[in-house]
Structures are given as structure tokens and as C-alpha cells.
């Protein structure tokens, strides 16, 4: 068993990290990512993408989470996962090359639940997945009411309650939904890693009582807890991503574990980051509040920790 990334996977991670570190502001970032082929990293080559696996997609999502990037990457990637899995040839042809080329936006949501959908925009592509039945519906013109979330660096929307039925995705989307949850978990993992980095750097610098606040045991223990939560999310996420590519039967439980661990970690770690920054952490100027806000939306998205644990309980006690 080896959790080390391959050279190619490391290259994706490092390129993404470098590029995103340079492009904090977000301006023009998306076209650049599209140029690099990342909008379609997980889409099959015959559908205009790069044909890479879920591990690679997760690596990229983690880096975009780490940067708390202002791109429609997540929605694009998740819609593509669902359409690739469930769409017929015409649906795939219609949507996937356009998503991979960044020409159209995409989004994914669960049926029967009023949730804030990241990157959802009226008129773009939308998949509504039924979590229980594993069926999905495709909208080429998403019936979305734009809604501003607490995370203003990303567009959000709600599925309009009066939306007519979409076109069925005949192939079903159960596994795609699991994959989507892994990608969300990976994004949360990136948020956690960033929150931890910012915090560790800050508590080493910030002095009170004549010493760095990081020398106080209360602060050390809180930072250690942040790391533990983050590492739990990390192993869970990459195990699930690997399962998706190489051991499909393990995916449902692994995806539930990943989303649950990441959702809990995302909330706790980003809140701790604010706490350990003191008053600065509560300001708009400090970066940590962006991480908290995105983690809150992601934690709830496609089913929060409690619903994932409930699912896990069904899978493991059946």
C-alpha cells in the first residue's frame, strides 16, 4: 500500500500550487486553467478531456481549495462526472466537450433538497441527482435562482422549486455522486491545509506575554488537533479517490467516510484557524474567514457529515 503520488500526479499538484500562488487575485485564472486542460481533467479524451482519474481530479480540487480560488472548476468537474457516467452518447457529446473547453458552466445538486449549489448559474448545464435511486436528470438550461452565499468568491444558486423535470440520464449517477463527494472532500481538504498553514505561520510570529503564542500549550494542542482532523480527511479522501479508479465496490463506503471526515474537519479546522488568529481572524482583511465560509458551504453540499454517517451505517450494518 503506497499513498505516495506518482511523478505525474506530483507534477499536477506542483504546477497547480505554483500557478495558484501567483494568481491569488483570481483575475483571468479560469481561462488559464482551461488552457491547461484542467476544466476537463477528469473527462474522457474522446469527449474532449484529459481522461485522468479521480485521484488527479482530487489533487487539483485540493489545490483549488487551498487557494480558495475564484473559479467555476468545482461545478464544471462535478457536472461532467455525472454526465459522463449517466449520459447517453448525445448528451455526452452535447455537454462534455463544452464543459472541458470552459465554454459552458456546469453544476450538480441533489434532488429533493434545497441546497446552495456552487457554481450554479441560470441557463448553464445542471445535473440533479437522486441520492437514493441513483438516477439523474440533465438540464441544458439550468432552472436556477441565483443566490449569494456567505462565500462571495464563488457563484451560488438554488434549484427553482417550480423547475420542470429535466432529461433523464439513462446510465444512472449513483457512482458519479460518490465521486463528486470525493471531489468536494478534496476541496475541503485543501481549505483545511491552508487554514493550518496560515495558523502555524501566524502563531509562530505573533507574540504575547513576551513569547510566540504558539509556545502556549493551549495553542499547540489546538493546532495539533487541526492537523489530526486534516490528516483524517486526507487519508479518507485519497483512499476514496483511489477506490473510485481501482476498486469500485469500496467506493460507496469510502466516499461516505471521506465526505463525513472532510465536512467535520472543514468546519472545525477553519473555525480553529480564526480562533488562533485572535481579533485579526475575525476581520475581513485576514484570509482565514474565506476558508471558513467556503468550508461551511462545502460541508453541507451533497449531504453533510450526519447524512454520510447515516449512509455508512446503512452500508456497514446491512
Amino acid at each position: 500500500m503506497d499513498f505516495e503520488f506518482s511523478d505525474e500526479q506530483r507534477a499536477i499538484r506542483d504546477t497547480a500550487r505554483e500557478l495558484l500562488a501567483e494568481r491569488r487575485a483570481g483575475e483571468g485564472l479560469w481561462p488559464e486553467l482551461v488552457e491547461l486542460g484542467w476544466a476537463g481533467i477528469g473527462i474522457a479524451e474522446e469527449n474532449g478531456g484529459q481522461g485522468l482519474g479521480l485521484v488527479e481530479l482530487a489533487i487539483l480540487a485540493e489545490q483549488l481549495g487551498h487557494a480558495c480560488a475564484e473559479t467555476p472548476f468545482l461545478g464544471t468537474a462535478l457536472a461532467a462526472l455525472a454526465i459522463e457516467a449517466g449520459g447517453d452518447a448525445a448528451q455526452r457529446e452535447r455537454c462534455l466537450p463544452a464543459l472541458a473547453a470552459g465554454e459552458r458552466g456546469g453544476a450538480l445538486t441533489l434532488a429533493g433538497r434545497r441546497e446552495l449549489i456552487p457554481d450554479a448559474a441560470a441557463g448553464e448545464i445542471l445535473v440533479v441527482a437522486d441520492a437514493d435511486g441513483g438516477t439523474g436528470e440533465l438540464y441544458l438550461e439550468a432552472p436556477i435562482e441565483p443566490t449569494e452565499a456567505i462565500d462571495p468568491r464563488r457563484r451560488h444558486g438554488l434549484l427553482r422549486p417550480d423547475a420542470a423535470a429535466g432529461d433523464p440520464l439513462p446510465g444512472g449517477v449513483a457512482a458519479a455522486l460518490d465521486r463528486a463527494r470525493v471531489v468536494v472532500a478534496a476541496e475541503i481538504l485543501g481549505l483545511c491545509r491552508r487554514a493550518l498553514e496560515e495558523t502555524v505561520a501566524y502563531v509562530k510570529e505573533r507574540r504575547q506575554f513576551g513569547v510566540p503564542v504558539g509556545s502556549f500549550q493551549a495553542v499547540k494542542h489546538a493546532a495539533a488537533q487541526m492537523l489530526r482532523d486534516t490528516e483524517m480527511a486526507a487519508v479518507a479522501t485519497y483512499y476514496a479517490a483511489w477506490s473510485a479508479d481501482f476498486d469500485a465496490p469500496s467506493l460507496p463506503a469510502a466516499a461516505a467516510i471521506a465526505k463525513a471526515a472532510a465536512a467535520d474537519a472543514g468546519r472545525a479546522v477553519t473555525a480553529a484557524a480564526i480562533q488562533l488568529h485572535g481579533g485579526i481572524g475575525f476581520t475581513w482583511e485576514a484570509d482565514v474567514h474565506w476558508l471558513f465560509k467556503r468550508a461551511q458551504v462545502d460541508a453541507a453540499y451533497l449531504g453533510g457529515a450526519a447524512s454520510q454517517r447515516a449512509r455508512l451505517a446503512r452500508l456497514t450494518t446491512a
Partner: protein
């Protein structure tokens, strides 16, 4: 032990309830911070006109001359009526009690009445960029000049400074001193040259707190509180009142939030889920215990004249419980609780400050372990 109220206290509660029912605050303005503050200021004026500010303050300073218990009942009822905290909360709960403990007769006569009427708003200028948890590291300097002091330095996180007439300011009067010694407590007139207030934007998008730049600001001798060099002791009084004084209002506010959450859970069926029921019941239990702890804390104030370190325990429990409540609300209420500008999302974000403002939870735990349990101090 007697956990009942006297007939007089019950009568006080009844009278107040009747008054509150007949005099509701106007409709709450949304989305405009200044309008919101003005609304709370108007509300305090109404309370004042009805004789309901400074319930436990002596009659001679414009108070009602009632007991501490009645003051606690006042805050409880304010909460039950879903009325806001009066605008001059820092003056009422921190500044006034500090002056009554340490101020000269002249100071009490000059400053207390306008606190009650909301004519003069107060703010608290303690924290500095280099002195947060470590308040004794204050660098703001006060030097002799004319018939008083000339003050230069920087304060930060100063809530309501933008509306304030007076600032409870702690500055270093002995340049040779370090730490707790050589600090002095001043009442600084905010309306003068040499005082600049710069708003700071918060996680919520609002700017409740500010940076305060002091450059040659003047304070006459008559506005030194508790004597030159005694600032640390006076500041501690303010801090203990901050941690304990708000306890009643905050626990009632928590109760109201919880009621709203339970309502939401009933309406959308979440109240039927065992997990949610467990969380809601736990919140109920904590809220109820906070209420009892707040009442028990009153006894301490009555016996020793000021709140004790137990206030740290209550404030710690309150902030943690409020944060649990708003996080539970995200799970119960759903999308609306994460939608920009909704009352629930505001509460979610604002609650992050609860474990930082008025002493961080880490500091409160140090206070509890060292001052209550007598454990050795960190060197």
C-alpha cells in the same frame, strides 16, 4: 438556599412586563449598521424615559435604586420581549460599574447620568496591536502636559468608537514601567483633534469595531479614574464586569435563538430526527444551566461588590454554546443559514467572535485554572 423570587421582585417583573408590552421598540432596521445603532439608541432613550435604565444604579445618579436581582430580571425580561440591548451597553455594563467602584464623587456626578440617557456613548480602548490577550503590554503613552495628560498611541478592535463620546482608555503613564505597573485609566473625550477612528471590516461584512489612532489627544487630570498608576486594577474591574455583566442578557438571547431554532426544526420536520433532537436537547440543557449559573453569579456580586473569576466560566460556556447553536442551525435550517445577509448566516459568522472578544477562551481557561483552581501560573 431559596430559589424563589420575593413578592417585591415578582411585582417588579410584572410592572416591567406591562411596560415592555405597551412600549415595544420600533421595527428593526436591516442592512444599515448606523441605522441599526440609531434604533438601539432610540430604544435606550425610551427605556430611560420610562425609568428603566440603570435599574440597580443609585437614585442619586439617575438610576432606579433597585436591587441587583431586579437588574437581572430587567435583562431577562428585555430578552423575553425580544427587545435589543440598549445602545450604550459598554457604558451601562462596563463604564458605569467601573466608575461606581473607582470614580471620584465628581466623576460619578458628571458621567453617570448621560450614560443612562444614551446622550453620551462609551467605548472601551484597551486592546492594542501588540497587547491583546497580554493586556499588560500596553504601549500607548500618556505624558504630562498642561493641566493633564497628552496621549499618543494606537488602540484596536474598539467597538462603537464611531459613536462614542467617551473612551475607557488604559495608557502607560510611567515610561520606565513595564507590565501591570505604571498604567493609568483615563476617560478620553473622543471628540477632539488627535483622535482618529478608522473602521475595521469584520467577517460579517460589518464594521462594528475600529482602529483608534491617538496623536497628542488630551485628557485633564479630573478624568483619571482610580489614581495615576492604578490603571491595571481599574481595568480588571471593567473586564470582570464585561465577562459577568452581560451574562443575563446573553443567556436570554441564547434562549430566544434556541426557540427560533426549535420552531424551524418543527416546521421542516428536523425535530423528528433523533440526532437533531439530541442536539437541540443538549442546547436546551446548556442554556438552562447558563441561566442558573448567571443567577448564582449574582450572589457573588452581592457578597463581594464585584463579579468574581467565575464570570470566565460562564462566558466560556456561553460562547461555546452559542457557536454550537448556530452550527446546529446550519444543519437544521439548511440553505438559508448559509445565504448571505440572512439572520442565521449573520449569527453563524458573528458567533466566531464570541470566543475572542472579552478575553479569548484560551485566556478564560487560564483564568479559571489559575484563579479558581489555584494551579501554578505559566512562567
Amino acid at each position: 438556599m431559596d430559589l424563589t423570587f420575593t413578592a417585591a421582585e415578582e411585582q417588579f417583573r410584572q410592572e416591567l412586563r406591562t411596560w415592555l408590552a405597551a412600549n415595544p421598540p420600533g421595527p428593526e432596521p436591516r442592512g444599515d449598521e448606523d441605522a441599526h445603532y440609531a434604533w438601539r439608541r432610540d430604544w435606550q432613550r425610551m427605556l430611560h424615559a420610562g425609568g428603566w435604565t440603570g435599574v440597580d444604579w443609585p437614585l442619586e445618579y439617575g438610576g432606579r435604586g433597585a436591587s441587583l436581582t431586579e437588574s437581572a430580571i430587567f435583562f431577562e425580561e428585555l430578552g423575553h420581549a425580544r427587545a435589543p440591548l440598549p445602545a450604550n451597553a459598554l457604558g451601562l455594563l462596563l463604564g458605569g460599574p467601573t466608575l461606581m467602584s473607582w470614580g471620584s464623587e465628581e466623576q460619578k456626578e458628571r458621567f453617570l447620568a448621560p450614560i443612562l440617557s444614551a446622550e453620551e456613548i462609551w467605548c472601551q480602548g484597551f486592546s492594542e496591536p501588540e497587547a491583546g490577550s497580554d493586556l499588560a503590554a500596553i504601549k500607548t503613552r500618556a505624558v504630562r502636559g498642561g493641566d493633564g495628560w497628552v496621549i499618543s498611541g494606537q488602540k484596536v478592535w474598539t467597538s462603537t468608537a464611531q459613536y462614542a463620546k467617551w473612551c475607557m482608555l488604559v495608557a502607560r503613564t510611567d515610561p520606565e514601567s513595564t507590565r501591570h505597573k505604571g498604567l493609568t485609566y483615563f476617560l478620553l473625550d473622543m471628540e477632539q483633534e488627535g483622535v482618529e477612528v478608522v473602521p475595521l471590516r469584520q467577517i460579517t461584512g460589518e464594521s462594528e469595531f475600529n482602529e483608534l489612532f491617538l496623536d497628542g489627544a488630551r485628557v485633564p487630570d479630573a478624568q483619571v479614574v482610580g489614581g495615576v498608576g492604578n490603571g491595571w486594577m481599574v481595568a480588571l474591574t471593567t473586564l470582570m464586569n464585561e465577562r459577568a455583566g452581560l451574562a443575563f442578557f446573553l443567556q436570554v438571547q441564547l434562549r430566544q435563538q434556541l426557540d427560533r431554532l426549535v420552531e424551524a426544526a418543527r416546521a421542516n420536520g428536523a425535530a423528528e430526527e433523533p440526532l437533531t433532537r439530541d442536539r437541540l436537547a443538549d442546547l436546551h440543557l446548556r442554556t438552562e444551566l447558563l441561566r442558573l449559573m448567571a443567577w448564582r453569579g449574582l450572589g457573588t456580586i452581592e457578597r463581594y461588590g464585584q463579579p468574581g473569576p467565575e464570570g470566565s466560566l460562564t462566558k466560556w460556556l456561553w460562547s461555546e454554546t452559542n457557536q454550537m447553536l448556530v452550527q446546529t442551525a446550519v444543519d437544521v435550517v439548511g440553505a438559508e443559514a448559509l445565504t448571505a445577509g440572512s439572520p442565521w448566516s449573520f449569527a453563524l459568522l458573528r458567533a466566531r467572535g464570541n470566543s475572542i472578544e472579552g478575553g479569548t477562551t484560551e485566556i478564560l481557561k487560564n483564568v479559571v485554572s489559575e484563579r479558581i483552581l489555584g494551579l501554578p501560573r505559566h512562567s
